[in-house]
Subunit: 393 residues, 2 copies
Amino acid sequence: MSDIPAFNPPTRILMGPGPSGANPRVLRAMTAPLLGHLDPEFLKIMDECRSMLRRVMRTENQVTLATPGTGTSGMEAAVMNLVRPGDRVVSGVCGYFGERITQMAERAGGTVTKVTAPWGSPVDPAAIESAVKANGPVQLVTIVHAETSTGVQQPIEAIAKIAHDAGALLVVDCVTSLGGVPVEPDKWGADAVYSGTQKCLSAPPGVSPITLSAAAWDRVKSRETPSNTWYLDLSLLEAYWDERRAYHHTAPISMIYALHEAVALVLEEGLEQRWARHERNGRALQNGLEAMGLVLHADAGFRLPVLTTVRIPEGVADAEVRGALLKRHSIEIGGGLGDLRAKVWRIGLMGESSTEGNVLLFLSSLGKILREHGFKADLRAGLAAATARLEQP
Amino acid sequence: MSDIPAFNPPTRILMGPGPSGANPRVLRAMTAPLLGHLDPEFLKIMDECRSMLRRVMRTENQVTLATPGTGTSGMEAAVMNLVRPGDRVVSGVCGYFGERITQMAERAGGTVTKVTAPWGSPVDPAAIESAVKANGPVQLVTIVHAETSTGVQQPIEAIAKIAHDAGALLVVDCVTSLGGVPVEPDKWGADAVYSGTQKCLSAPPGVSPITLSAAAWDRVKSRETPSNTWYLDLSLLEAYWDERRAYHHTAPISMIYALHEAVALVLEEGLEQRWARHERNGRALQNGLEAMGLVLHADAGFRLPVLTTVRIPEGVADAEVRGALLKRHSIEIGGGLGDLRAKVWRIGLMGESSTEGNVLLFLSSLGKILREHGFKADLRAGLAAATARLEQP
């Protein structure tokens, strides 16, 4: 019928801040026939997801599950369940997502002290320590491991020690890091870690892996008032994910199928090999961009391999370059968020999108477009630098 | 690798309270390549979803969108955004889902008066009216249109009039009714209506259609404190769905694809034709069950065609019968929830699952199993009664 729109989405090369390209096996899994959310065969798939998630998240935590929403639902679950009205929270903020955690903690009734750093640098653990001491007793410290708005990778262990020495719990946002760079809740001493599926796990967005330490779980169970959220109440979610199988919501069946195959693919590749692939391709891209004459935005030594921020050269129009990449080459990259709007581009090399071919195609495409816009990108040097890095392990 | 579980879910005939079977075209849509959540082609798909949702939901409401979670996320969005701390709420409760709304309204800071009815009857509008008058001024009235736990269809218009005469807004849960029986927010005068995708729309669970009247939207916009939830904050969600396109969350891309094709299929079939199909198959099943000697649980005159509750005959074991249906015939039906646990079965005929073949197969399978369990089901009479109703339009 003519008034019912046809459905034919085009194919893109997804090199923005997420979603990344999905593995065909993950997409195919979603066409499997639906099962009921209490069907024994579906419960078995949930158990397998849970067990594989523990391996991918390198944790022994009992409470490890996927919240029924995109990455932000994991953030909301962690914050709304762990922050009780009146709790004192110290929130490390060096980008858009740190800021978002702060907003949620305030909605949960927390009294939040922000510890900020410039957008492009990590948060200084010493500043966290001062804030924890000045505002004690602090119940919760929050930090973003991979700040998707700036491309900064935040070291976690020092902050975990500060939190624990003060008797506080630590929440770590790993939306953009899980499956791409080492995420180690148990080794770090992180009490709540959540992620998304559409970044380095390369499944469509729709569920959010989360894991809680025994101490975090005690905090959730001992709440005197229930959390603000019913949909993302971890006590109710865990009662469905564990052997009680108490009905809470109708699980997003097809998304759980996708998650099952996405984490299976991670384990089949091997976590160490996968981290090495992301490291190799990310550094090749970064070396290539610098050799072309561009300036990386994030501080050296704290650059995520999976998400690179590069400064837009003086006089070059942000939207036109991104438009040309999309129209001519079907490549999506991201613009800047918040303070970095029109100042940087965000280039993701996550999961299935992290390939040698994408590194070279992107450098070549961007170089040519930049030259049309009056910036003399040294394309030859850029490709040489990238190739040299790609040849290393 | 041997320690990575294989993925091969079996095929079921889904005749429980949801999910229902999905149309293959909907499942196929989810294998389309992922687009970025701000890609112009994806925004066009969102606009088309919005416009088709307005037609399926029979509303002119500007604020019509899909929340990024299963049906319960629609409930949480409606309740958490419309209930402000201290608001007085009258909540009609005649089953599990009415109770759930009450719990959410309390978490949102509302003072809730419950108006109950036995599980199997609708809520009496006169009782709502008394509660509204006794607790005035009341800001919100909530009611469930299709109570999935009891199989009762609640008349809405009288309750809408009571709410509006008292200056209150009306929230209506249509999770199980949309696409199966008439849902008419504008005609009813309902201010917030939400649904799920996995019932009569026959898509996988994962997003929740919701629509708000102008009055409801004014309430949301004029809040002095933000809603408890950030993830399901309708002000933020609408700013992404409307022309502002302000980033809020990474949309569940593949689920929006599925929604697009699910609502297109509803419009292609035609809403009236679809309602008639659900009515025909549902009444055929109900006539068949009664002719077999079983007793329907919901009050006559208030029985949903899309979800039938039937009493488990004395001495027949609930779990064994459901187990035999699943094992021998691959048919899933639902057990009772809450007060109706082990007392009724819940049989869904929703969306793709609402077929003549499923009615006959189910009656035949159940009849044979019941006879093995000592209940003398009159299978011949049951099939004859069903067939007679299936022959009518």
